[in-house]
Amino acid sequence: MKNNFFATFLIAGLVVGLLATLQFKTKIPIAGGFPSDEVVAKQDLLKSFLDEQSYLQSRIVSLRKELVKTQDVIDAQTEVANFDRLEALKRDIGLTEVRGEGLQILLGDSPVAIRSGAEASDVHLIQASEIRDVVNILFASGADAVSVNNQRVIATSPISSVGTTILVNNSHIAPPFTIRAVGDTEIMLQRLLNRDSLPAIYEKMRKQGIKFEILKKNVVVIPMYNGDLRTKHINLIDQ
């Protein structure tokens, strides 16, 4: 009896010792082969690309404005150039600012959401798909122009995510997400308030407490598209 008790105690002691050793050998930052300073370095690199992107986008906007001024000078000097047609085309493809009556929609993460860090949880965050759904509903309601956090949404604008980061036109945007639309406010409002149009958003609003607020505005300003236009593979069919 005494021997059995001793053996049980010895085995239990060994197991406890083994577990204690394992416990103290677990080093969180190194366990993934991912030292925290490496993460910081990569985030710095990401930030440098983002800073460069902001600069390039603002440069495009200022250059397009400069181009318009230069065109105006030429336009005043000659009547041959087809500037009216050019302006109409620019309006068609989103290269002009649009102002008018519209809606301002705010989509915000749940108050308990954490977008970065170990506690980041998808259910409390606004996802790219929810922004896409709102933008689609706005266009389906006849919106003339739509922007998300001042990024003009055109026909080939991707709205996507990488991890918990949201990208519109491949540019980073941060919450809260402000979607603006110029168009018939009554039609757009009616569609957005219909729970069947946006079931995921209304469910998340009820269960996770995400923010979804709509404001009617007399004047909404949608900026011109500030990205690149891809036409490398497109050819016109001569008519």
Binding site: F9, P29, K42, T70, Q77, R85, A155, R230, I234
Partner: protein, 204 residues
């Protein structure tokens, strides 16, 4: 007395096991939070985007330069008109690309996601069942019986997506594990997705 020792040892053991498992969870969370592919993917997207923005800047600067010469200005205007006509959807176009045929019961949000995935993969022009998606196109809508409405037309199956852009690049992105095709097939297993590379796609 021995029973009490064993009981106490079991409690300590249980405590340590749970502590150990929590440590592993924490390590896993730390690792997942910083998954390298995410941050590298982000950097690649930004790098490509910045590169195309630089090309756009060079293009506009060339236009501005051309406008300083009255003779070149007229050519510059025509060149801009030609470029923008390719995008406004009022002139027929053609180019290399892919055709994706989807047969099955698919909902509007998935169609929106699919179109978004094409744009993300580098699409320059997209049409669905012959309707070109441009700035003036009305978005996708769901009718009460579940049919998909686009620009006032009810879309019927199979849904044919014509996409102009670099075919091989687009296919490799769309067919990535965890990409749109893989997610779509997981969500709707009975769906048939057929992708075809084409040298010429025409859109009206």
């Amino acid at each position: 007395m021995g029973k009490y020792y064993i009981f106490a040892t079991a409690i300590i053991l249980g405590f340590l096991i749970s502590l150990q498992s929590k440590s592993y969870e924490s390590v896993e969370a730390e690792y997942l939070r910083n998954v390298e592919s995410n941050i590298f993917q982000e950097i690649k997207i930004l790098k490509d985007k910045n590169e195309s923005l630089r090309r756009e800047i060079a293009d506009i600067e060339r236009n501005i330069e051309d406008f300083s010469d009255q003779n070149l200005a007229l050519q510059a205007v025509e060149s801009q008109i030609n470029r923008y006509m390719k995008l406004n959807g009022k002139t027929p176009i053609f180019g290399a690309g892919i055709t994706v045929s989807i047969d099955g019961d698919i909902s509007t949000p998935w169609v929106v996601d699919l179109v978004n995935a094409f744009s993300n993969a580098g699409a320059e022009a997209i049409s669905v069942n012959g309707i070109r998606l441009v700035n003036g196109t009305l978005g996708f809508d769901t009718l009460p019986r579940g049919q998909i409405l686009l620009n006032g037309s009810i879309l019927s199956t199979p849904y044919i997506f014509n996409v102009i852009g670099e075919p091989s690049d687009m296919i490799s992105i769309l067919e990535l594990p965890g990409g749109i095709f893989s997610r779509l097939s997981s969500a709707i297993p009975e769906l048939t997705i057929v992708t075809e590379q084409r040298e010429v796609i025409q859109m009206n």
